[in-house]
């Protein structure tokens, strides 16, 4: 009824090319944004922010980043955790070396440093594909974690080998450190999410995005029609790593505050982000959000249902979580390889024809 193109006339190319061609979608987008910016900061408490919203926003950035590489460009990567660690350690070194620098610059610079590292580890992708590339990125994961553990310069020679985010303020409000208000942290992360999601959306539907998808679908054919694989693959690695680096930086500076590399940025993190985009949907920005939300919500949901309502022992519920995530991944790979995003797409399609489907 409301969800349809009919009556929504486009009179320019710009309008014809917009992200949300349906009026209802457009308004919904602005409503979601308005709620996120104008209402949520006033109502969130510590618990909701710290256990759900802030990690969701941060992992959404990481998932978008990985989705650019895996979903749009078709280059499998298992090095996400390692690249997030690069972002985190860059942030730490920048924060401690230049205490006057504001957090937005620090975070963006960390993203750039990660992009450089990503390009470096992306070079093998020019010669190897598929499984072999996955193994090469896996090597990056282990190498980077080993490096940050091994070289004391990265953690400023602290005795514990941990990195701690000192307090930094923006507009007189603490953004990092234990005294930061949750709504400040939330808005800080939201700023990056909106900015980067907008950037990713527009990159993926522009010429670079089309080159990535051409490479993904058939690299030889892409080369024949004039796509430079070197440029396409390395830009995908660079931009993807930039996103992942920003996510790693925020995870360290805003969310965790103190980090031990092997634990916070281990192989598990790579898999977590990969699961997010598999469940959410490969090659979709919305899928990255859906996957991140799903993977963040599931443990909390299971805990509330299992432990608080049913009174089961906490360890059984924790084990169940592993079983459920595993089963879901198999389910999605078999039944719906395009993930939650595809379900959303189908739902929208149905909605457009409702109430008179043909």
């Amino acid at each position: 009824m409301f969800y349809r193109e009919a009556g929504d006339f486009k009179t320019s190319y710009a309008e014809d090319n917009q992200t949300f061609p349906i009026k209802f979608d457009r308004y919904r987008y602005y409503v979601v944004l308005a709620v996120a910016v104008l209402i949520v900061p006033f109502v969130i408490n510590d618990y909701w922010a710290n256990s759900l919203l802030i990690p969701f926003l941060i992992y959404a950035i990481a998932a978008i980043g990985l989705n650019i590489l895996v979903g749009y460009c078709g280059q499998v990567s298992l090095g996400t955790g390692g690249f997030m660690a690069v972002g985190a350690y860059s942030t730490y070194k920048l924060m401690t070396a230049f205490p006057w620098m504001d957090m937005v610059s620090v975070t963006l610079l960390s993203g750039l440093i990660t992009a450089l590292v990503g390009v470096l580890f992306g070079l093998p992708s020019l010669r190897i594909k598929g499984f072999y590339l996955a193994v090469a990125t896996l090597a990056a994961q282990f190498f980077l974690v080993w490096l940050f553990n091994r070289v004391p310069w990265f953690y400023n020679y602290s005795a514990s080998g941990q990195i701690n985010a000192p307090e930094r303020t923006m507009f007189g409000m603490a953004v990092t450190g234990p005294n930061a208000e949750v709504w400040v942290k939330y808005l800080f992360c939201l700023f990056f999410v909106v900015l980067l999601a907008w950037l990713a959306r527009n990159l993926t539907r522009g010429s670079i995005g089309r080159q990535w998808m051409a490479i993904r679908d058939m690299d030889i054919a892409a080369e024949i029609i004039g796509v430079n694989p070197l440029r396409a693959k390395l830009t995908a690695f660079a931009i993807s790593s930039f996103f992942v680096g920003v996510a790693g930086a925020l995870l360290f500076s805003v969310y965790l505050g103190a980090v031990e590399v092997g634990e916070a940025y281990g192989i598990n993190k790579s898999f977590l982000v990969l699961f997010m985009i598999i469940i959410g949907g490969l090659g979709s920005i919305f899928g990255a959000f859906a996957g991140a939300a799903f993977m963040m919500l599931l443990p909390v949901f299971l805990k509330i249902v299992g432990v608080d309502m049913m009174g089961w022992p906490a360890d059984i519920v924790a084990h169940f979580q592993l079983v459920i995530v595993g089963a879901l991944i198999i389910f999605f790979l078999v039944v719906e390889p395009h993930g939650l995003a595809q379900l959303w797409r189908l739902a929208k399609e149905k909605l457009r024809l409702w109430p008179f489907p043909y």
Partner: protein, 427 residues
């Protein structure tokens, strides 16, 4: 009608005080590669509070409510657990993880909730002038390292000159803790120190033991936890490293660490901060808690090393609650009253005897400046034939002349980094 109202009112009045309770969060880990240590500790922790509820109706007439939360020894999950439980009026956090402790130190300080890291966590937190809300009595890692060296000194006629000591450690904030202390001690006593990190979770140690085999150090000290301990004992047995020259710290000295290696693990040494064997309080736990079907977990860990330590941690918390109730004259205490209670805590031999656990730990007193306790530890040895630990020594004191300056230096650096104003403890 009127009578009904009166009855309802009486019901509310009766229910009112019963609603008030002492909230104890238990950030346990019963899953993952560290569950072998996490389960008995958590069982002991919960069973003791359940005993107090069942036998005495709580502490000072106030029921204790335990909130469990599974962390899987993962710092992110630990933070999530902390955030989800702190709003319930939690009195004290004991996360049993050095990684989570580092996350919680700034958070608990900002939220003004006490954090007790018994024998783990950040060692320099024993300086109460800097760390107002963090306690790590009765002992910490630097004490542990010093106790081991003191024991070795004792065994080697007072000199370790020219000896070769290897530290096999969990490559994390936990395992790195003793390195500074050992480096200073190696300069002081003239032994050679080499460090061998083992990465999380610790199943792969082939390289490290190959190096030990080549290097043949006189002693191997281990800072391990979880599955790493069993693997290390097995690897040591494989290369026939003499077990009585292999010393674990107090988190590497439980039954389940040595049993898998079978007879080959005979003679393995480790630190402990508690007493071994049966205590009168265990019978009470069996009678009041287990027989009523309230046992935490499977209920089969009573009396194991880590169960005793978990129960000991619960006892220290319960005694601190009692002290806080006495100081403030109310039974329903707040986290900041709890802090006062922890700072005024005094554990005597008589009190431990009264509680049915004579000599379970050292007698000590916490003060405003010293949140760390005496730091004593004892050495125990594994008897593989009987599958039990045997106490070798009495409590050994650490070398405070080495530890104190280190604590001072590290805590002052922390204070400076975080703009903390020192508390005045002279009053």
């Amino acid at each position: 009608m009127k009578r009904l109202a009166t009855m309802a009112l009486a019901g509310v009045m009766a229910a009112g005080p019963a609603m008030a309770e002492l909230v104890i969060p238990d950030l346990h880990y019963r899953t993952g590669p560290y569950a072998a240590g996490g389960i008995p500790f958590s069982d002991g922790y919960q069973d003791y509070f359940n005993l107090l509820n069942a036998r005495d109706g709580g502490i000072g007439g106030e029921e204790i409510r335990i909130i469990g939360c599974e962390t899987a020894y993962n710092t992110e999950r630990g933070v999530e657990c902390y955030e989800s439980t702190k709003g319930e009026g939690s009195l004290v956090y004991q996360p049993l993880s050095t990684g989570i402790t580092y996350q919680l130190i700034p958070r608990t300080t900002a939220d003004e909730i006490p954090l007790h890291t018994m024998g783990y966590g950040r060692t320099s937190a024993s300086n109460g002038e800097v760390f107002e809300w963090v306690f790590n009595y009765p002992a910490n890692y630097w004490d542990g390292a010093s106790v081991i060296i003191n024991y070795l000194l004792d065994q080697n006629d007072g000199s370790l000159e020219g000896k070769d000591i290897a530290l096999l450690y969990h490559n994390s904030a936990y395992g790195r803790e003793p390195i500074r202390t050992l480096e200073i001690l190696s300069e002081q006593h003239g032994f050679e120190l080499s460090t061998l990190p083992v990465d999380h979770p610790g199943q792969e140690q082939g390289n490290q033991w190959l190096q030990i085999r080549r290097q043949q150090p006189d002693f191997v000290i281990m800072w391990g936890w979880g599955v790493m301990n069993q693997v290390a004992v097995q690897e040591a047995a494989n290369i026939r490293y003499p077990m009585d020259q292999f010393i674990g710290n107090w988190w590497a000295g439980a039954e389940h660490d040595a049993i898998p290696a079978g007879a080959a693990s005979d003679g393995y040494l480790s630190l402990n901060m508690n007493v071994l064997g049966d205590l009168p309080v265990f019978d009470e736990i069996r009678a009041h808690v287990h027989e009523n079907g309230m046992a935490a977990g499977e209920g089969n860990n009573v009396g194991t090393v880590l169960y005793t330590r978990g129960m000991y941690a619960a006892m220290l918390a319960a005694e601190a609650i009692r002290t806080a109730q006495e100081i403030h004259g109310v039974s329903e205490i707040t986290p900041s009253m709890m802090r006062d209670g922890m700072e005024a805590l005094e554990i005597t031999e008589e009190r431990m005897e009264e509680l049915g656990m004579p000599g379970v730990g050292p007698a000590f007193e916490v003060t405003c400046a010293n949140h760390g306790g005496p730091g004593m530890g004892r050495i125990q040895q594994w008897n593989a034939a009987d599958q039990e630990w045997v106490t070798l020594t009495d409590f050994i004191a650490p070398d405070d002349s080495v530890i104190q300056p280190l604590v001072e230096e590290d805590s002052m650096a922390f204070a400076e980094e975080n703009d903390i104003e020192l508390r005045d403890c002279s009053m």
